[in-house]
Amino acid sequence: MAFDPDRGWRLHHQVAVRPEPFGALLYHFGTRKLSFLKNRTIVAVVNSLAEYPDIRSACRAAGIDDDAQGPYLHALGVLVKSNMLVAKENTP
């Protein structure tokens, strides 16, 4: 599924998030891939995705203004590509 920040996403159910001083480690038990979240803001966004209808509002809630969202959207896009994030079923 192509990454669309205007729709809802959530962590894949086989992904574990381990908090670290630098951010967090993500491990996908299905693909057996490891990823790193390199600051705590992106961790907050990832952990709260399920609560928001779309990515942009999750970013705003984490204090990332729309014009500063570029790198975060890129990062989340990488996570979508590696199947760490999946689309929420019931969002448009």
Binding site: A16, E20, F22, Y27, F29, L34, S35, F36, P71, S82
Partner: protein
């Protein structure tokens, strides 16, 4: 670090990294890892020293079961602790781990407790029934060890009949619908020309090829001089990884080669993770810095014994003086001033130690050639006191029988 497959080779530097830059005051990720994490990302757990084979390069000098082997309950207690620490997965090996009668029970226990399992096997127990069971699990990854793409080259190292045994296991897995088994190859002077054939073999079985570096550890110390790739072959290997490495796993074990090309051409975390982000638990609960370092110099503690910092794995990981020392900034020593130090960081600690080279100097397989004069000089190769090899060298594969309790003493007749 060799036990951590961060991603297929060449899909990034490091590919799985989420490219959000940290604020400037936070150290770079590689520095964070060098300073050690509160828990390993993954670890290697050798469940038994018993093995039906006697591979000449066995990193753990396996053969005979150790009578002090951890009980089922002790293993489960360790798994509970790993779950609490959020260790993502364990690489289970041995010996041949599947010869433990409680092996499947422990695999199930680990995955039920959110500790993923990858296990390495020579295939001896992967019959149709086991393959079907494995195919039904999402949380278990299987690595079949193979050190030649032909029986001739494989069996020279792993013993008569071992090629056929591994192929049978791969066939059973494929027929059962198991997705994406791994074929795990230690690259040697004899098989480095077979990399394309290994890849083809993996494709045949719907498997992924995983190639790792030969270390002079365990019985590997006895054969390393004859088996390790020549300097020309190292270049050949590097070029193969860069050209054909898409979808090939390396356990990040070839970071000593990264000076051969552009930074980032080789995927993965180019640092030694020993005692920092990975470690080894051996069959009797001893914890070592890495799977290639079974020697008292790299012994951090024992999970069952209190040697000054409490019992349990977490105490050993977080409090052992050895691990704290490994997390200190390391000196480049003789390598300081080398333009490639940033890419190889002096190479592999175990490779240096077991070839008798200084720890703060070049890797024995240094791509700049600095290892060769060191190897040619007089050196004292340390032997490990931990050796479970069967006496009398290699015979045909040992017929297996399952024991439910460890023997009272080392038994040389049957490994199990």
């Amino acid at each position: 670090m060799t036990v951590l497959d961060t991603a297929p080779a060449r899909s990034g530097p490091p590919p799985a990294l989420v490219p959000v830059e940290s604020p400037a005051r936070v150290p770079k990720l590689v520095e964070q890892f060098e300073g050690g994490l509160d828990a390993p990302i993954c670890l290697t757990w050798e469940l038994t020293y018993a093995c039906n084979l006697s591979c000449v390069h066995c990193l753990s000098s396996s053969g005979k079961r150790d009578p002090r082997e951890l009980s089922t309950q002790q293993c489960k207690d360790i798994i509970d602790e790993l779950e609490r620490m959020q260790v993502f997965y364990v690489n289970i090996g041995g010996g041949e781990p599947t010869v433990r009668s409680d092996f499947w029970e422990l695999v199930d226990y680990a995955t039920e407790h959110h500790v993923g399992v990858k296990f390495s096997t020579n295939g001896v127990r992967i019959n149709e029934e086991v393959a079907a069971k494995l195919a039904a699990s999402d949380y278990v990854d299987v690595q079949i060890s193979l050190d030649g793409a032909t029986a001739e080259i494989n069996d020279e190292v792993r013993g008569p009949g071992s090629f056929a045994m591994a192929i049978r296991a791969l066939e059973n897995l494929k027929d059962a619908g198991f997705k994406d088994a791994k074929i795990s190859v230690v690259v040697t002077r004899q098989n480095v020309d077979q990399l394309d054939e290994f890849k083809a073999l993996a494709d045949t079985y719907g498997a992924t090829l995983r190639i790792t570096r030969l270390r002079p550890s365990g019985r590997g110390a006895d054969v390393w001089d004859d088996l390790h790739p020549t300097p020309a072959q190292q270049v050949q290997l590097y070029d193969w990884l860069v050209a054909h490495g898409e979808g090939v796993l390396t356990g990040d074990s070839f970071f000593h080669l990264s000076g051969l090309g552009e930074p980032g051409a080789l995927a993965g975390l180019n640092l030694c993770g020993a005692g920092r982000v990975v470690c080894l638990i051996d069959p009797i609960g001893d914890v070592y810095a890495c799977p290639f370092a079974i020697h008292e110099k790299f012994h951090a503690g024992n999970i069952l014994e209190d040697t000054g910092f409490g019992t349990g794995f977490k105490n050993v990981w977080q409090r052992s003086p050895l691990f704290q020392e490994l997390r200190e900034p390391q000196s480049a020593g003789a390598c300081s001033g080398c333009a490639h130090y940033d890419s190889c960081r002096g190479g592999c600690m175990a490779a240096k130690f077991f070839t008798g080279l200084p720890m703060d100097g070049p890797d024995p397989e240094c791509v700049q050639g600095y290892g060769e004069p060191a190897l040619a000089a007089e050196r004292d190769k340390p032997r490990s006191s931990v050796d479970h090899s069967r006496a009398g060298g290699r015979k045909a594969p040992i017929p297996l029988k399952l024991l439910t309790v460890p023997p009272k003493k080392f038994c040389n007749e049957s490994p199990v």
